[in-house]
């Protein structure tokens, strides 16, 4: 199965489970969790089921397109279901079957792995899913998001598209993956991989980036003062990505690191709180069955 069919298959499958199929968000980010469709929407009591592909940038993992597994930008297929349905594991396993992975012919295991994102003040418990020893998915029950208790709890499923594809297509090198017949992953992504790596490690103007960080932080705060959560959050994402670029370029010492993470975290927490307050002020409009949302 080529990468495109994998994505279409997963979209179709989760659409059938009443997930809204959304698109990747247009601000740079390190993981699908940072997309506001996950970070903000997993806050508060309103139910929310969504799935989307997220191109995720990890500047530190850039390898100039030389490494068969590590990438500046990889793709995550992200699913959020709030509240976490009882059969979420079964749904996930069914989705693997849709991809042609019959659990009886493999060894599929749920191995403890707890997720934490300090800059988002978010953490959860769950597993990494192993397919014949390879980690193909991160499976998390959010416990806290933006410093707020996750009530109800969202289940987050993050498939590593490249990992899963290299298993399904039995390739050694990610750049050999078939995106569709006649186009490899390398055809599409080799050049950006090389260029982004070169930019990150050799060319990035750190002064400019430090200024951008400051400016974005300031703008996020300004937007928050006006209670404009989504614009504020866009600037938080910018801060996060700029920080990652600077960090990968070795421009941030270990001591300073904590300080920058704290600054992003404070913004993320403020956005989370503002989002919750705003939804509450609107009387949680997506909450259809208000009785049922109360705890048992």
């Amino acid at each position: 199965m080529n990468v495109q069919d994998m994505i279409l298959t997963l979209q179709n499958f989760w659409a059938k489970q009443n997930c809204l199929i959304m698109q990747a968000y247009d601000v740079e980010k390190g993981a699908g969790t940072l997309n506001p469709m996950t970070f903000l929407k997993s806050i508060g009591p309103e139910p929310w089921n969504v799935a989307y592909v997220e191109p995720s940038r990890r500047p530190a993992d850039g390898r100039y397109g030389d490494n068969p597994n590590r990438l500046y930008q990889h793709h995550q297929f992200q699913v959020i279901m709030k509240p976490s349905p009882k059969n979420i594991q079964e749904l996930y396993l069914q989705s693997l079957e849709e991809l042609g992975i019959n659990p009886k012919e493999h060894d599929i295991r749920f191995v403890e792995d707890n997720w934490e994102h300090p800059a988002l003040s978010a953490w959860g418990l769950g597993w990494e899913v192993w397919l014949d020893g390879m980690e193909i998915t991160q499976f998390t029950y959010f416990q806290q998001v933006g410093g707020l208790e996750a009530e109800p709890v969202s289940a987050e499923i993050t498939y590593g598209i490249e990992r899963l594809a290299s298993y399904i297509q039995d390739t050694e090198n990610v750049f050999d993956l078939e995106w569709v017949d006649g186009f490899t992953y390398g055809d599409v992504f080799y050049q950006p991989e090389y260029e982004h790596s070169k930019y990150t490690f050799e060319l990035a103007d750190h002064d400019m980036l430090f200024h951008s960080f400051e400016a974005s932080e300031k703008e996020a705060k300004r937007a928050l003062e006006e209670n404009l959560v989504f614009p504020a959050y866009d600037y938080v994402l910018k801060c996060s990505h700029i920080f990652n670029l600077l960090d990968a370029g070795g421009a941030i010492s270990v001591t300073e690191r904590t300080g920058y993470i704290t600054r992003v975290r404070n913004l993320a927490r403020a956005c989370a709180k503002a989002y919750y307050e705003e939804r509450k002020r609107l009387d949680f409009p997506m909450l259809k069955d208000k009785e049922a949302a109360c705890d048992e």
């Binding site: 659990p103 191995v111 403890e112 959860g124 014949d132 390879m134 029950y141 010492s253 048992e296």
Partner: protein
Amino acid sequence: MSKAPFLLEIGLEEMPARFVTGAMQQLQERVEEFLQQEQLGYESIEAYSTPRRLAVIVKGLDTKQADVVEEARGPSKEIALDEDGEWSKAAIGFSKGKGASLDDLEIKETENGEYVFVRVEKKGKDTAVLLQQMQDVITSMTFPKNMRWGHYSLRFVRPIHWIAAIFADSVIPFEITDVKTSRQSYGHRFLGTAVEITDVEAYRETLLQEHVLAHPEERKKAIVQQINMIEEEQGWQVPMDDELLEEVNNLVEYPTALFGQYEESFLELPKDVLITSMKEHQRYFPVEDKNGTLLPYFVTVRNGDHEHLENVQKGNEKVLTARLQDAMFFYQEDLKLNIDETTNKLDHIVYHEELGSVGDKVRRIQTLAKSYADAFQADEKEQEVAQRTAAIAKFDLVTYMVDEFSELQGRMGEVYALKAGEAEEVAIAINEHYMPRSAGDTPAQSRAGAIVSVADKMDTIVTSFSIGLKPTGSQDPYALRRQAAGIVQTLLFHEVPADLGDLVSEAIQIAKTNGIEIADAANLQEEIEEFFRMRIKNQLLDTGIRYDVIDSILAKKIKRVDVLQAAAQFLNEKANDPAFKRTVEALSRVTNIAKNTALEEAVISRDLFEQNEEIVLYESYLQVQAELPAAMKRSDIASAYLTLEQLVPVIDNYFEEIMVMSDNEALKNNRLALMAHLSVLIQSFADFRKLVLTST
């Protein structure tokens, strides 16, 4: 009394492997406690667990509590009877409260006078009803990490999916997070189906048919047998790591062992790297030939049967190969590094925000190691090795490999140092300076490694305490307790003839001259000594030494730990000696009488001794003074004790004949002075007052 079997099975999403066994034991204990509390008898109880279930089977459980007759005491006779000798309102209220009639009341004599009593027969409750409280038993379970799910507020190890609760062929009704109890269980996630438990006693067999080995020991045995079979067929050895086996056992419900292969060229990697990649990251068992040489194979355990085992093998080989390719890249890059240049990079790694860089720490360790080399009585060669080791011991922290595999710190240092042409002793000491790595680990075997190890750990303790990072309760994020225990263990192993207190003050001094802010050095010294006292105490308690013996030898400033340990062991044995009591009493008496006399003012004047017993004691004192400190220094505890024991008849005679508290002030002070000096000597061995004497 009729009896029946009881099954409780909780079905869960996959629990963390490291929690499974503890959770199973906890469930069993809580059920036992419940049955005991409810006074329900049973024949046997057995617990089961897999990653997806915790279960308890109680066989021969009473179907009903026994009826009991209880006698309750009410008001006193004066209050229970009115003037006419009729039952008062108080008595009537009492009988009503107990559900009894007035005819059941009677007056009885007690130690405290006469009171009204009532006998109440309590009918035993049905076990089936009582067992509904299993709901609380389950929800009150605690785990190292708990989670919530869906819209429920319960915190549990993982979401609950089913609860089978069956007693005497009936379902015990209760529910947790909308999960209602039933007789339904579930088999293996992929190989089994939903299954009704019709016979509790056949629980194990029923699940086996659904491809679940519910008994953890049985499952473990199956894994070991399968691995043994592979060993036999292939002529290999697969060393059984119990911790790994335990983890693997709790990752599978139906184990099938298989082996895979990796390219022989990877064997060029250091053994520790290969083993860590296999064990820690993939939970594989490494494979060796009969001589213990690593072979390019691994054994893994699948959660499933033999079907399509080749897929599983191929997938696992692919994953391991990718990991080893990464490791090979790191290894080759690291080998290009120059050790001294790499060490310089440590200046850019923050050790702790308030304590500077790792480079700063290395410089402190270097100075401290120089000073400790004397304390360890290291020879010239050892001093040289220790100095070089201290200088470069941390360089591997900036290698790719340790960045990726942090558990290999020290081990990679050894490998790279050897490759870079460092002396073998230095390479070994680099690895050793992290030892003991865990509670069961051995300390550094070489003296140079031990010196750097103690210097590193002591520096960590002193500098952490200096900025208030002290362990509290269960919180010890910097593992300072383990480091202190490691220091004690290392000092004991090398029989280091140095006072622990001096090692501490040396480290404080060096931290101070190296720019660590220490406001009150004396107070810090006291805190750290107390911290060590607690560690030593725990270590001695673990070896079976009486707590009072430990208290007696830890009462004063901490000196040499080897002497402390020897003294503790010696006293622990001596405590069984019939003569011990007399010795303790005599020596304690001296210490007691001297306790208010300041040593500075205690001047002994020979001329002021009046009686023979005084002179004899004084002369004995001089002899002890000449012998005891020397014996302690040699760690010759038996001789040291003997000098004290020889004092006992002299002391006894002395107190028989002499009033220390004489009316003559000069005489009294002189006698107290002798007592004070003698007491100091005695206490340099132990504070005998802390010993608890049994009256035999």
